[in-house]
């Protein structure tokens, strides 16, 4: 009888310890992803830059040198511009980076992702994009006065159909 109590008691303690171990690490300790007075600024975009060169008309000599099935009048190189992004927060430059187009022929969309914790409170955000290497400076720009509350996620995106820079 005494042995049985010890055996069952011992097993009960063993499995209880295992359950406590599983139960604790299943949701504890809490993970501090952001500071208590911080928000998150995300830059995420996917955008095909402008073509690097314009289309041009092929001369008769050039056309003659091409195989018959490839004799298109217009020559349109597909290489796209890299996309330059500049992000300023309260006058301080956070990012000023150039994102190359994807693909072996550099004819795909450029994409980028950055994340940065920012203190909660009022901020002045300025975002500039350049998707055409033939343009000096930036051809898209957006700015916003932000009042970031703790835990807020601010997303900087780019959508040419919506006028370019999107701050959400």
């Amino acid at each position: 009888m005494g042995n049985a109590v010890l055996r069952y008691g011992g097993q009960g303690i063993l499995y209880a310890l295992f359950a406590v171990f599983v139960g604790y690490f299943s949701s504890s300790p809490v993970y501090h992803h952001l500071g208590p007075d911080e928000g998150l600024l995300r830059l995420s975009f996917r955008h095909p830059g402008e073509f690097v060169t314009d289309c041009r008309s092929r001369s008769p000599e050039e056309l003659a040198k091409l195989p018959p099935q490839l004799r298109a009048q217009m020559d349109c190189p597909r290489e796209r511009s890299p996309v330059r992004v500049r992000v300023e927060l309260d006058g301080k430059v956070l990012y000023d980076e150039v994102f190359p187009p994807a693909g072996l022929r550099r004819d795909g969309a450029a994409s980028g992702y950055r994340r940065l914790e920012i203190p909660a409170g009022e901020h002045a955000l300025r975002v500039q994009f350049n998707d055409d290497i033939r343009v000096k400076g930036f051809n898209y720009e957006g700015d916003r006065k932000l009042n970031v509350v703790p835990g807020q996620v601010v997303l900087i995106d780019f959508n040419a159909d919506q006028g370019g820079v999107v701050i959400r």
């Binding site: 063993l14 499995y15 359950a19 949701s27 993970y31 500071g35 994409s111």
Partner: protein, 524 residues
């Protein structure tokens, strides 16, 4: 060193005798006292893993019935399960969660145990390597499961996972946009996630099936007591601490603190503590290290069993008894029935096959005893010669013959007075006829010192030996043998004192003479 030495694994410096192994064995022996060896969960971690897998599948199946695979309905349907049907859906959800956590814990414990015991090299390489992907698959299945709840933790997990994968060249930084840009999270995405949450565990099950393919009679479930205790513990945990959701996911909101499940999500937090690329390097490096571990460092691998076509009659006993499915039956080259064929890569060199062979009978005439299947270097012929020599030696007559397992307690370099001690790679190598042979040769009695069955290095050695001597398994110990002169003792490697005490008690019962000098067959 004599092939029939009587050292234990620590004295013989066999793999799996290090500090970690000794500590783990001490823990196992302590838990044995509470649970018994057969129901010690540490001794059936693989089977417990299978059991938890099915528990997760069963509870997951129930949850899937009520789950709404839409952006708007996912979180609400999980809330309805959790609170709307508290005593069924809520418990099922919590059981699903905690069984999944226990599954990871059991897999890791299983890996650590086999690593500590050195059971990952040589013939075990396949089981080890095929177990490595289960870590990734189990964690992947769990992480994907967290997306389904679509609460703030789910959004964190989804973005962190895509940020991590986005660091890989093939994926790129646009991957994370699937979870943070407006309109990207769609009902179709949830259907895909559900598909992955079912598909990845199915692949895991396939890998688990492959993992046990080189085992005869693999344990793919827990013993009844372990299953019931585990279910009871996880059920009580589910009632005491129900799994609950966080607020619904909002793309522009991330709580500062998150109650994460560390069994699954710890790697994701590491990408913020370090960098995604560094976590990839560490994770990939550790995986590769585990995968190549069986071939790191020198390995002393004994020769595999060899079949003698002239003495193999195709009885299939070795085929049935081999613990590692290393023996197949094929047509005999002499055209007389079948012959055993040994797959050297799978062979553990335990000798259980030699113990099962009907040709391993020491009474057979002939200068040299040849068995149908045997271990080169420590054949049953060698064993008969060693036994003959010991019994013919001065004081050999009337001695107590002890056959010990070299993976068990052993009797060390100085076994003791009046003993003829022969160590075997496994107690299962002992053909029962050797017991009768020793008794007829002048031994006062015979002790077979095996390991406890759940402690057997070669899985079935102790069990087969017990069944053979009890007349329940071929080859049987002949009924005419005086049973009172035969003793089977079970002693783990730490229990030499208990083995000695058992031998002395048996000798006292026999009234065997205490001789002045020992006649052990051991050169240490």
């Amino acid at each position: 060193m004599s092939p029939f030495h009587t050292l234990n694994p620590t004295e013989a410096r066999l793999e799996g005798s290090g500090v970690a192994a000794r500590a783990l064995r001490a823990l196992e022996r302590a838990i044995d006292r509470a649970c018994g060896e057969r129901d010690n969960p540490l001794r059936q971690l693989g089977g417990l893993g299978f059991y938890l897998f099915w528990l997760i599948a069963l509870t997951g199946g129930y949850l899937y019935i009520f789950y709404d695979t839409s952006v708007a309905g996912a979180h609400a349907s999980v809330e309805q399960l959790t609170h709307g049907q508290r005593w069924v859906g809520g418990v099922m959800r919590s059981l699903h969660r905690y069984a999944s956590d226990a599954f990871v814990a059991v897999i890791v414990l299983h890996l650590v145990r086999e690593l500590a015991y050195g059971r990952y090299r040589g013939f075990r390489w396949y089981s080890w390597v095929s177990g490595v992907p289960t870590l990734w698959l189990a964690v992947a299945a769990g992480v994907i499961g967290y997306w389904l709840v679509w609460d703030s933790v789910a959004l964190f997990v989804a973005t962190a996972t895509t940020e991590w994968f986005g660091a890989l060249p093939g994926f790129g930084p646009a991957l994370v946009r699937n979870f943070i840009s407006e309109g990207a999270v769609s009902d179709r995405l949830f259907s895909l996630v559900v598909f992955l949450h079912i598909g990845v565990p199915l692949v895991l099950l396939l890998v688990m099936w492959a993992h046990v393919q080189r085992l005869t009679r693999p344990q793919t479930g827990a013993s009844r007591a372990v299953a019931l205790w585990t279910l009871a513990a996880l059920s009580l945990l589910s009632l005491a601490l129900p799994a609950v959701s966080q607020p619904p996911a909002e793309l522009d909101w991330l709580p500062a603190t998150l109650p994460l499940d560390w069994f699954y999500l710890a790697p994701l937090t590491a990408i913020y503590a370090a960098t995604p690329a560094l976590v990839w390097i560490v994770a990939t490096g550790l995986t590769l290290l585990l995968a190549v571990a069986p071939w790191l460092g020198p390995l002393r691998r004994p020769a595999p069993a060899v079949v003698d076509p002239d003495h193999c009659n195709g009885c299939t006993r070795c085929f049935a008894d081999c613990p590692y499915a290393a023996i197949a039956m094929a047509p005999h080259p002499g055209g007389r029935g079948q012959i055993a064929v040994v797959d050297a890569d799978r062979c553990a060199s335990c000798g259980i096959c030699a113990g099962a062979c009907p040709s391993s009978v020491p009474f057979r005439a002939g200068e040299r005893l040849v068995s149908g299947i045997d271990l080169p270097g420590s054949t049953v012929g060698d064993l008969r010669e060693a036994l003959d020599a010991a019994l013919r030696a001065p004081h050999g007559q009337g001695a107590l013959v002890v056959f010990t397992c070299q993976r068990g307690a052993g009797l060390g370099p100085a076994p003791g007075r009046g003993l003829v001690v022969l160590g075997l790679p496994c107690a299962g190598m002992l053909p029962p006829t050797f017991i009768e042979y020793a008794l007829r040769g002048g031994a006062s009695g015979v002790v077979v010192a095996a390991c406890p069955p759940s402690d057997c290095e070669f899985r079935f050695g102790a069990r087969w030996t017990g069944e053979r001597l009890a007349g329940e398994r071929e080859p049987r110990l002949r009924r005419g043998v005086e049973r009172e002169r035969v003793e089977v003792l079970q002693a783990a490697r730490e229990e030499r004192a208990a083995l000695r005490a058992g031998i002395e008690a048996f000798r006292a019962r026999l009234g065997a003479p205490q001789q002045e000098t020992s006649t052990e067959v051991s050169d240490g």
